[in-house]
């Protein structure tokens, strides 16, 4: 029931905003999102982490029984984590817009809340149609946020964003409906759109069919992620969107794509995934390097971060298509952590934009001298984004890379392993392997290159301010030209006689926005287990199916039932961790083979 509350609160908030005066809009929005955060607490408290693979907190109502459509919500460990991210970013986005949005605040906050409700809906939908509806519905609020509150090129950005993602997702709808139809064929023509029920049918579709379905799924989700060749809407949308829009876009909206891939590409068409993982992985790797290098030559700091999302999500999907526990766990962690760190970077950039009305790195530099607090946060989040160990970016990236490194069916054979000694191989089945990982790994270097380039330009170096701002101006800024190109906020500054509402460095509200994100970045970097242990079984259930398909695939490819690795003899050395503490999951993950158990301990 709390899930319903999570869906309803933002909508109620939006309704309330519609009926309240303009100056109260931001308070109502803040209250609504805060209540949502509060509501999330009982959800977490009530969540059975020991069974995080099963759907919990579910509510189900008949909706369109003719089509077998239900209104069904429920969450498992993965959904919970993403839901947490969504809910958390809610008040942050609202608070980040307090001074940035002065024109038509009611519309802005109302749509922001609706957007949150839609994203919440995606992550907790248990019904395909509900999922799709929420998935699509995110477009409208985002469209409005960009087209009404964006910068100069906003109309084009909004339209492109909308059409690109909308087109893709319509094809996805076709694919999903196809699956539903196949299900109905096997169930006396009774249609059902339950996500889990359909998964069972979809998995058993013939491989070629699965391939087509995968293609359809990719059409929508890859655009949303976005993967390499279909990414161009993202930089544009990010650049033009208002800060809160960018944060939601990077933080959660892109995750709809990866979540869709996780839920449907892995869950529905594991066979096809096993078949085509390499292709997708290559796209990811290309995206990592391509996106990263493009970042490096950007002049617009927001565009730089936007392109970095292309590179980062390349890692995320790479882990996903590794099709093993390490990779997928890394990928899901990546979804969360990218949301935090990149969202925070966008917030930081937004704060600068609010002050100087420029994102051009040629006009900004050395802000550390002027804004030490901001600079500290900026460097911190840049480092989180770079993937510095100890911060949140590292563990997911590393796990994704390990996952893809592991995923090679050749491990354990010939040159790739040992058949002459008793050493087992710890690779998993797949087509990715070390070479791909090596190339992807250069993305780590490139990430350092462009993010440090950005930090070096904006934060370090001699102080550079855009024309009209005095470098020695103690507070506020001498912004005195109203060229009309700026939006209402610029006009507002002019109205107030060149007195900015913002201090030189961050104000308390802005610190309060960034601090929780920074804390989470640190906390999740130091103790990622809080996430990994809450989603291990959920991912395990996916991996189980994928592994079967991979075994089948390898069998057909190799023409025999060659095991991945030679059977380790019973006398082989201590294989497991050797740690006396028997973990809880070990008892849950079955170790059927008694001999193995013995060897493992």
């Amino acid at each position: 029931m709390f899930l319903l509350g999570l869906l309803a609160i933002p909508l109620l908030g939006a309704a309330l905003i519609a009926g309240s005066p303009a100056h109260a809009a931001k308070r109502v929005a803040l209250a609504a999102t805060s209540i949502a955060v509060a509501l999330f607490i009982p959800i977490v408290a009530g969540f059975d982490f020991a069974n995080n693979g099963t759907m919990q907190g579910g509510v189900e109502y008949a909706w369109l029984p003719t089509l077998g459509v239900k209104f069904a919500v429920g969450i498992d460990g993965v959904s919970l984590a993403l839901l947490g991210l969504t809910v958390l970013l809610g008040p942050i986005c609202v608070a980040a817009s307090f001074t940035a949005i002065t024109d038509r605040p009611k519309t802005f906050y109302a749509w922001l809340l609706i957007l949150q409700a839609a994203i919440t809906g995606v992550f907790c939908a248990r019904d395909l149609v509900l999922f799709y509806i929420c998935f699509e519905f995110t477009l409208i609020p985002m469209f409005i946020l960009i087209s009404l509150y964006g910068s100069t090129n906003r109309a084009k950005a909004a339209i492109k964003f909308f059409l690109y993602t909308f087109t893709g997702s319509l094809i996805t709808l076709a694919g999903l409906v196809y699956v539903a139809w196949q299900h109905s064929l096997k169930h006396d023509g009774v249609w059902n759109f339950d996500i889990d029920t359909l998964a069972a049918t979809a998995r058993n579709l013939p491989l070629s069919t699965q391939g087509w379905v995968l293609l359809a799924l990719m059409a929508g989700f890859a655009v949303k992620v976005p993967l390499f060749p279909v990414h161009t809407w993202l930089p544009l949308a990010h650049t033009e969107a208002p800060t809160a829009g960018s944060v939601v876009l990077a933080g959660t909206l892109l995750k709809l794509g990866t979540y869709g891939l996780y839920r449907f590409a892995l869950g529905y068409v594991p066979g096809a995934m096993a078949e085509h993982a390499q292709t997708i992985a290559i796209l990811c790797v290309v995206g990592i390097i391509y996106g990263g290098l493009i970042c490096w030559v950007q002049r617009d700091v927001k565009k730089l971060v936007a392109y970095s999302s292309v590179a980062h999500l390349g890692f995320c999907v790479l882990g996903l298509v590794a099709l093993n526990q390490t990779g997928i766990t890394g990928s899901v962690l990546y979804m969360i952590n990218h949301g935090l760190s990149t969202g925070a970077l966008f917030l930081c950039i937004g704060m600068i934009y609010e002050r100087f009305h420029t994102r051009n790195m040629a006009e900004l530099g050395g802000l550390a001298a002027r804004m030490p607090v901001w600079s500290t946060f900026m460097v911190f989040f840049a480092m989180a984004s770079v993937g510095l160990p100890g911060l949140n970016g590292f563990v997911p990236e590393f796990l994704c890379l390990i996952g893809s490194f592991q995923a090679d069916s050749r491990w354990g054979h010939g040159l790739w392993g040992s058949t002459t000694t008793s050493m087992a191989s710890y690779g998993t089945r797949g087509d990715l392997g070390p070479w791909l990982t090596l190339i992807a790994g250069t993305g780590m270097i490139i990430a350092a290159m462009y993010l440090l380039y950005m930090v070096g330009r904006v934060v370090w170096g001699p102080l550079v301010l855009p024309p009209g701002f005095k470098a020695d101006d103690g507070h506020g800024h001498g912004h005195d030209d109203s060229k009309g190109s700026h939006t209402a906020e610029a006009e507002k500054h002019d109205d107030h006689g060149h007195h900015s509402v913002l201090p030189t460095d961050l104000c308390g509200r802005e610190i309060a926005i960034l601090a929780p994100l920074a804390f989470l970045c640190l906390a999740l970097g130091v103790y990622p287990k809080i996430l990994t242990s809450s989603m291990d079984l959920a991912i395990d259930s996916q991996v189980k199916v994928l592994e079967e398909k991979l075994i089948e695939r390898d069998r057909t490819r190799m023409g025999s039932t060659t095991p991945l690795v030679p059977v380790p003899p019973a006398t082989k050395p201590n294989e497991g961790s050797g740690r006396p503490s028997a973990s809880t999951i070990d008892s849950r993950i079955m170790v059927q083979n008694a001999g193995m158990q013995e060897a493992g301990r």
Partner: protein
Amino acid sequence: MMTLLTNTHGLMHALSGAALAVSDEAGHAAGHASGPVAQTFAAGPMFGLLVVALPLLACILCGLCAMGRVKTKLPAFLTVLCLAGSFLVTLALYLQHHGQPAGTAWIIQGFEWIRLDYRQMVDSVVQSRSFIANFGLYVDSLTCLWMLFVTGLATLIALYASEYMSHDVGQGYNRFFAAFSLFVFSMACLVMADNLVLLYLGWEGVGLCSYLLIGYFYKKPSAVAAAKKAFILNRIGDLGLALGIMLCYVHFGSVEYKVIFEKCAPYMASLAAGQLDQIPLIAQFIPLCLMIGAFGKSAQLPLYVWLPDAMEGPTPVSALIHAATMVTAGVFLIARTYPLFLMSEYALPIVAWVGALTALLAATIGMAQFDIKRIMAYSTVSQLGYMFAGLAVLTSVGGAAHVFTHAFFKAMLFLACGAVMHGFAGQLDLRKLSGVGSMPGWRVVGIAMLVGCLNLAGFPIITAGFWSKDMILGEAFANSQMQAIGWILLLTAGLTAYYTFRVYFRVFVGPKHYEPGDEHHGDDHGHDHGHGHADGHDEGHQTSGKHGFHPHAPGWAINTVLATLAVAAFVIVPLVALNHGGWVKDMVGASSAQFNEKAAYLIAAKGDLHTKFFGFDAHKAMMVVSSIVGLIGIAVAFVLHYQGRTTAATSKADALLPAFGPIAKWAQNKWYVDEFYNAIVRMPLLALAQIFHWFDKLVIDGLVDFFGWTPRGLGGSLRPAQSGEMHTYAVGMAGGLAVMAVVVIVVLM
């Protein structure tokens, strides 16, 4: 030559006499072949975590100071206190560990950092697998050795920095000490980690701190660029390390040393049995990956170029991070994972060659530089090459000992240079300083410099540097495979002695002369003295112009530290000199950095570890030869840079320059390596990035726009049909009907 050798051999023998129990050949062989000290694992005392925690605490406290905008020296005080505490805890840990049987490795469990458990079908059997990287400490004697000098030096240097950075009190002071403490924390993680991923955390953590501290004077574009360069080049190495870790995981199923070492045991047995082919090729790849990381962090070819630039940072940083500790992380990595390096036929030879060539190259560059800090930087690169070579020629003791001694004397050298820089407004050009050591108040600095230079030059017998270097040289010549390495290192030793004393003779002795630096560190972060200078040294000197400038001699903190280090440099002599490595040998020999199996393999299969050096025992011969080489280097420097020198700017060496032709110029320009990298890596990459940028804009986005435009284009082309004329419409309808009829007919056909 031969007679000279014989003579000096005798002399050396007499000198060392009873004091140094130089083992005979049999004893030496026993050292190689003695049964491996069995590694045993046990849970360690929890207080060991304090070693890591105290620097972190210091970092947090400094951060709080920054938040509270503290404008006193409080952060320095806190840092020194915490680091000293950390050092004491390390000492206690060492003492307690020393009581354990040799070969004991403690594992101190902190908390579970990364843990994934999963299962995998292997031949229809479900196996349970896990990826575990805990925040746990692995304490063996190698760890103790490293942590002792890391925390000890860090404490001293923090003390030094408290004075050195005093002009920044209230500005960057908090930031400096926060990063400083964070560095020690990261270094402690790196050294004490019980698994490779935590090591990686420390590895990148020290990289971050290095980045932050190199870029400490962030208003200077060169400092920012240097910081960026350091981080990125380190990242290249880190990728290698990361791949190595992954390979380890895929091969051994774990990233924990304990498991890896246990699983290595059969390989080691195969190695000892001379069956290298029993070790799978994939396992042999692991060291190849790891060494890239080590090359990056320890500034070896081809990734060394960041270290000289890193001298943009404040001098204490250069001393601690870029001389004494962080850059030795690569050496530590190899020592820590020595069993993995032994598995491969090619790993150690590659390391040896890289190390030796780096040593030589850096020494040649160092000879031609004028910036004393840069000379020290190149010397660091060069000495690191020595250490690598030491590890690679199968004297991990020698490598570690050189790390150990180098940490002291190089830190001292840097701190002395820093004192000069501090006192002369950033002046570092050896052509503009002379006779500093004899100026009033500079005595301690001069002596410390002399001690450091003697160590670095390998002055015989009395310096620790001599003994550690000698171990490496001796072992290189003793190893039949490594003769060439030995010769390169020997040449380098001579060059080192020369350029080291070149600095000493130019700057610290001779006629007194100085020109103050222009202190180009910006307004509020530079080394000028207008900002709340706590000491009473500023006597109204200006920041520019020779007249009216008075160098201010170092205060008590700097002097104390320098003096301590100078004393320590001698105190550690017996620790490395006695019994072929002395205490360090005990420390290293009982750790993972043993090499017995490889030695056995090499002796059995390939070659000789007791090669004679022109008929003499290589070790004994080297003591003499390297002494002579070192003395020659010093003598040359004396002649060229001291004898008869009357000005600061010129010396006799200038006359010799034309003789070297362009080589001198090339060396002065660092062999154009930076330019070369820029041309073959950075520029192409930048060009590629630009190409991608435009490709993205024009082609990919162009395609998208094209598809977006298609409907409009189609609409535009159909629009003329909507002419508004009824006849057009009628024609369209009739024609359409005909077309539809054709469609049907076609289908019917």
